[in-house]
């Protein structure tokens, strides 16, 4: 085939932040395929140096307007690990709820507002309100609203939580609030299943593309891991000590991107809902498993477009999991715990959690005065950039017979499937000019 294709998507829409897709094909020969990230670095790690331990969470929450709860939790875990602070069982449960809330907010926003327009063949979420899918959109809006309100009840705010502090919570939900919340979870479980049925009717629009790659995420014997677990890979197994995360998350720099790339066993790996699903699918709650079955999702699934479906499955899981935690709290009764007095201790701590887009690491060194002297944050989208690039390289030859417009949409949908949070992933680069 000897056709020319020239695609230059300068700032792809319906993703968080700025990224470009460049494809140049001359007489059937591929000259250039690039996933480019042109965002400016944000220097968060440098901002943390010299800051007191109790400010680190508030500052790092601001890395992301979507994963602010996840950044807060990774930050608290790293700080508590460094200073040897122990938390109560009740705090542990509330943090599990907090991370579920964030995952639900982000996943439904992505599946419903950012990815679904591609499946329904429209340019954005707004035209859906005037289509026959209006009722489904209304249900999606209600699911998003519920996830926001759930997060607000546990964290004090929908975004940039204020109740989460080193060692505990500054304010707790009441018994009455938790009882009411439980009722709403049950109601929204039904609603999510209905939305899943609507998405199923257009799921054939997701390209059937597979490329074997490595998946990395947290795994735990106790649960489908979000808040607690060990770092694991579908290629190399479990990393026993999270302090050694750099062994598995090897970051490096490429010219086309201001965000770092990452690799482990292969030239790239993927993180996020599909990675978690591939590692931990057996631990999904029953209704979540049913939704996975509905879409024919089976581990190990190598189709990156199915990340959208894995997100939907996780939304259902988060609901079922939250009901279980609320039941534990209601059963045991809410203890009126006050945030503990923290004893400053110097040391290094690593906090790892799963946020909507994948595994997140915060690594802090704290000195005897309680100030941070060194910080490193590994952001999920950073870890996905190389995998997006390699997917594109394998995908393009398979779709070259399509029209330029179709190729462009297929590539845009690929990037969107990763739900990239590009602004968060840009890092300080250490560059030497020769």
């Amino acid at each position: 085939m000897s056709k020319d294709v020239s695609i230059n998507v300068h700032h792809i829409t319906r993703v968080e932040g700025h990224g470009n897709i460049v494809l140049d094909v001359k007489k059937g020969e591929i000259n250039k395929i690039q996933w480019q990230v042109p965002e400016a670095p944000r220097f968060f790690e440098a901002m943390l140096r010299g800051r007191h331990y109790d400010e680190l969470r508030t500052i790092t929450s601001r890395i992301c307007g979507i994963c602010s709860i996840g950044h807060s939790l990774a930050s608290l875990k790293a700080t508590e690990d460094a200073m040897d602070v122990k938390i109560s069982k009740q705090t542990d449960i509330l943090r599990h709820l907090a991370i579920n809330g964030e995952n639900m907010q982000s996943h439904i926003l992505h599946v419903g507002y950012l990815a679904a327009p591609d499946l329904f063949g429209v340019g954005s979420v707004f035209p859906l309100a005037s289509s026959k899918s209006k009722d489904a959109l209304l249900e999606i809006v209600k699911l998003h609203r519920f996830a926001n309100e759930f997060s607000e009840l546990i964290c004090g705010r929908t975004t940039h939580p204020i109740r989460l502090v080193v060692g505990g919570f500054t304010m707790l939900p009441t018994k009455k609030q938790l009882e009411k919340l439980r009722e709403r979870f049950v109601e929204n479980l039904d609603r999510t299943k209905k939305v899943a049925e609507v998405i199923l009717t257009v799921a054939d629009k997701l390209p059937n593309f597979t490329r074997e790659t490595e998946y990395i995420g947290l795994t735990s014997k106790e649960e489908y891991a979000f808040y607690e677990g060990k770092i694991a890979s579908t290629d190399t197994g479990v990393l026993e000590d999270s302090n050694d995360y750099k062994e598995m998350m090897q970051e490096y720099v490429v010219p086309q991107s201001t965000a770092k790339y990452a690799k482990n066993n292969r030239k790239s790996y993927m993180v996020g809902a599909l990675a978690r699903y591939n590692l931990n699918s057996k631990q999904l709650e029953p209704e979540a498993k049913k939704v996975a079955d509905m879409f024919g999702l089976k581990p190990i699934c190598y189709n990156p477009y199915m990340n959208n479906i894995a997100q939907l499955v996780e939304y259902v899981h988060n609901i079922e999991d939250s009901i279980k935690w609320i039941d534990v709290m209601l059963d045991k009764g809410i203890k009126q715990e006050q945030p503990q007095n923290i004893k400053i201790k110097e040391g290094r701590g690593v906090g790892v959690v799963e946020v909507p887009r994948g595994i997140l690491v915060h690594d802090y060194t704290i000195n005897k005065d309680g100030n941070c002297t060194k910080a490193n944050c590994i952001i999920p989208t950073n870890q996905n950039h190389a995998n997006i690039q390699h997917d594109m390289e394998e995908l393009v030859p398979q779709v070259l017979d399509k029209s330029e417009k179709e190729i462009e949409l297929t590539l845009e949908m690929l990037v969107r499937a990763y739900d990239p949070c590009i602004s968060c992933s840009t890092h300080y680069l250490d560059v030497k000019f020769l």
């Binding site: 707004f126 309100a129 209006k134 809006v141 926001n148």
Partner: protein, 155 residues
């Protein structure tokens, strides 16, 4: 009783774009001059979160920087109906028309408040920075009086 909110919209890092948020703060400090039972909401730089706020209220007052070709600091008042019918030839809000779309979406989903009143203030500078233009800061007090007066009559 009708649920009422005043929502300020703006980006406090983009100079005059922060006007909606500044006016919101000033109104909060003058609560005693306003009718009771009004919620004050910082809508930040807008987006889909506004859809959820709109669903919660019967009457909503929006404070925002609006590009309508007026003099810097000039206050313009308009109602939801005027926006939906696109009678007004302006770029509603400085947030890439996001808010306009959110109002339309809210209407389509039958969640829209009975009344939405918009106080738009003409900005001058929308570059990066935390300071607002001098002409604008001089107009704040006068605008505030007009806004309070209007809210008292409409609530």
């Amino acid at each position: 009783m009708k649920k009422t909110a005043i929502i300020g919209i703006g980006n406090s890092l983009r100079q005059d774009d922060s006007l909606g948020l500044i006016l919101l703060e000033r109104l909060k400090n003058k609560k005693e001059e306003l009718p009771d039972n009004i919620d004050f909401i910082d809508g930040g730089s807008g987006g889909m979160v506004l859809l959820h706020y709109l669903a919660d209220f019967d009457i909503v007052f929006i404070l925002d920087a609006v590009e309508f070709g007026g003099k810097p600091g000039e206050l313009r008042f308009f109602e939801k109906e005027e926006i939906i019918s696109k009678k007004i030839k302006i770029n509603l809000s400085t947030h890439e028309n996001d808010f306009f779309k959110v109002i339309k979406l809210s209407e389509k989903l039958n969640e829209i408040p009975e009344k939405i009143y918009i106080f738009g203030i003409q900005p001058k500078n929308l570059g990066f920075g935390c300071d607002i233009s001098l002409d604008i800061s001089e107009s704040i007090e006068k605008n505030l009086m007009q806004i309070i007066d209007k809210i008292k009559r409409l609530k």
